[in-house]
């Protein structure tokens, strides 16, 4: 992504606006992966806490979801406990290895 910032405004807000634009224009398709905090910070040349704040703001506005967290949250909402998820993942990995 091409990053240019107006020096007279908060950078995190400009990053949110830029990513929103990319979602609206289809440049970021539904389900597309956003970069992790560090990658985003390096790509945009900004402070990692600023990149974190931009991603948190996108999540707060429900424009993005945390990857690892969303699986756990979704499964917990279906009534699975942490131990059950762990057992499920272990089984899944074993089956994949046997294939």
């Amino acid at each position: 992504m091409e990053w240019r910032f107006d020096p007279g405004g908060a950078i995190y807000a400009q990053m949110v606006a830029r990513i929103k634009e990319a979602i609206a224009s289809g440049a970021l398709a539904p389900g597309a992966r956003l970069p992790a905090v560090r990658e985003l910070a390096i790509d945009a040349g900004v402070n990692p806490n600023t990149a974190q704040r931009a991603l948190a703001e996108l999540e707060r506005r429900e424009l993005a979801r945390g990857h690892a967290e969303s699986f756990v949250t979704a499964m917990a909402a279906l009534g699975y406990s942490g131990a059950e998820l762990e057992a499920f993942l272990k089984n899944y990995i074993r089956e994949k290895e046997e294939e």
Binding site: P7, G8, A10, I42, N47, P48, T50
Partner: protein, 231 residues
């Protein structure tokens, strides 16, 4: 706990007051810009933090301790001027840093050198000035330190080298460590800063998060700096 705390910190050189009652707190996980014109006290503050100078009055604490042997374990310092032993090769230099600092990550340093196509057998005295500056920054950032003190890391380097330096600082970011960057080239660094400290004639003029300054004043940190320090 704050990584760095200064209370009423004062330092005089003869009758010249270099630092005058400085109060500062730096929390973990912050990248802080120590911004001021030449001769404002930036380097004095950094040298007090790493124990190269002793305070005249007031107090300075790193992780709750006075600067000394214990704090040198966690403070990684990039001086204003190059201090590399230039008879060594890049590989020997890594061994030298590893001997001095238990937190030196040799693999990380070797990775950064190889990305710049610097060979371990290359002698420092055969490197260009720009390469030497990058090598020194790599040695400093390859430590897993709690506080990095970078004194004018982007003074006198070309724009490509400056981007490399800022990228290295961002990619070495660790939420439990803090970085203090002293500079007067504000436009170049302001995007990577969490907090800014304006210092003039040994006094703190302003200390605030960079995003707050931009949001509240509708101006870049660089513009605000020019206003505060208008001659």
């Amino acid at each position: 706990m704050a990584v760095l705390t200064c209370r009423g910190l004062t330092k005089k050189f003869g009758s010249t007051v270099a630092l005058d009652g400085v109060d500062i707190t730096v929390e973990p996980g912050r990248i802080v810009g120590l911004l001021g014109p030449n001769g404002s006290g930036k380097t004095t503050l950094i040298k007090l933090t790493n124990g190269l100078l002793q305070p005249g009055a007031g107090e300075i604490l790193i992780d709750g301790k006075k600067p000394g042997v214990e704090t040198k374990r966690i403070v990684s310092y990039l001086p204003e001027r190059s201090c590399l032993p230039d008879w060594m090769t890049a590989g020997e230099l890594m061994g030298f840093y590893k001997d001095f600092y238990a937190d030196f990550d040799r693999d990380a340093a070797a990775g950064m050198l190889s990305r710049l196509s610097i060979e371990e057998k290359q002698k420092i005295k055969h490197m260009s000035k720009g390469t030497r500056e990058k090598v020194q920054l790599i040695m400093v950032m390859a430590r897993r330190a709690g506080l990095y003190l970078l004194d004018e890391p982007i003074g006198g380097v070309d724009p490509a080298a400056r981007d490399y330096i800022l990228n290295t600082i961002i990619s070495s970011y660790n939420p439990s460590a803090s970085v203090i960057i002293s500079t007067h080239l504000i436009a170049d660094v302001e995007k990577v800063l969490d907090d800014v400290i304006f210092i003039s004639c040994g006094k703190i003029m302003l200390a605030a998060p960079a995003e707050d300054i931009r949001e509240q004043r509708g101006k870049s940190v660089d513009e605000v700096f020019r206003e505060v320090f208008k001659c």
